[in-house]
Subunit: 134 residues, 4 copies
């Protein structure tokens, strides 16, 4: 999974936000970030844009991990549903490939937040289409 | 639109990314950001997460501008389609309310990038559901 | 679950297409339809519109099963991804509630087709938002 | 646009529902259906599944009209938002191509209902991804 690690690290945004590639296996990827004031929306929770960036990353790198060497992954589209306010100490996006393909890969990601007692709550879920390009 | 300006400024993420509230009118909102290395995905373009954060903001604040005083706006869900690679000097998200409502507001946003010659290209489009809460 | 059965039967479209309410439990619903020429798209498979109608029903009635008596369920929005061509003898949509709520319920559905040997294949998946109204 | 007409007519579902191909031009397509009891959901309005089938058709055939001869169009995914109850005498889906492509075409459709006085109301809107296959 060195390719995934390299592509993850090449993202200016991931560094700027403090995202971590917590896990990378074929067809599976976990992205985490500890809470910080730079990640908030207007009432102080994790911003939908942060959770979406993480889920997009988790889906994209899960898809990339199954693509032939030399391909890059691009986001075609995604849909994100926000089930609960994202208040917590850490956010974690877990992405998986629902169906890999030569051109398109269908992926899903769940985003949980973890509170100070270690309890995980599902706060958002994504359905995404990723494309492999030469 | 002082309420929109205040809520926009209250977002830690918007400040951290360098987003600007370029325009705010009833049912309409424009968010801009100049290109920077901190906003990139792994091949150097604007990251999908940045474009989505901007479109989410543009939809959310367009919706908030039509809500009764005292309400906050939350993102229920959105879908984003990425039409073209987002290479340019500036990204601009333009949000509008398709249908305001007591509980739910349906919104849409287009995201353009502007190149060094001032040419605008549509790179992404969002369909979103926003909710007003007390 | 008599309420779900009654509301299912009240749909002119479900009868016209030949949909069956195969299972209904709290927060869970299964809709089936045997293949027929009246359900096809232009290359002879199950039409995306049929699969979507089934998934919408499966999500909506899963949500309704958790709502207070007297409420009706309306589809706020959904997103459907089509993973594979839907060729088979039977289509089955299985819906579940991801998060019930006083106003909004977030739901998901998977659609499988079953071939002549009884093998199931996942062909589509939905993420939906349902609303309870008085 | 004979190709679009031929592909439209090849759909068993379109005939079964009574859909009409009202207009077909390059990158543009209109589908209509008069109200009938066979098209209803459980409170007597047009069923979300009917509106979605129409919007999917309008997007798909708008995309097909710009594809090279010999290609078929498949729905990759779509998202549909339901803005208002769809009560009326006629439903009309108007699809357009936002961005055509060699592999993927991004499309949008608006669905209106027309009441007995001829007034049109926007009831739903779709964002879709279509794929051309040999």
């Amino acid at each position: 999974m060195l390719r995934v690690e390299a592509r993850f690290a090449a993202q200016g945004l991931a560094t700027h936000l403090g995202l971590r590639l917590a896990q990378s296996e074929p067809g599976h990827c976990v992205i985490e970030v500890p809470f910080g004031a730079h990640l908030t929306q207007h009432v102080g929770y994790f911003h939908a844009g942060v959770l979406t960036t993480m889920a997009d990353n988790a889906c994209g790198f899960a898809a990339l991990s199954l693509m032939p060497e030399g391909q890059e992954v691009l986001s075609v589209e995604f849909k994100m549903s926000f089930l609960r306010p994202a208040a917590g100490m850490l956010a974690r996006a877990t992405g998986r490939v629902l169906k890999p393909g030569k051109t398109l890969s269908f992926c899903a990601a769940d985003v949980h937040v973890v509170d100070e007692l270690g309890r995980e709550v599902l706060v958002a879920t994504m359905l995404a289409t990723m494309m492999g390009v030469a």
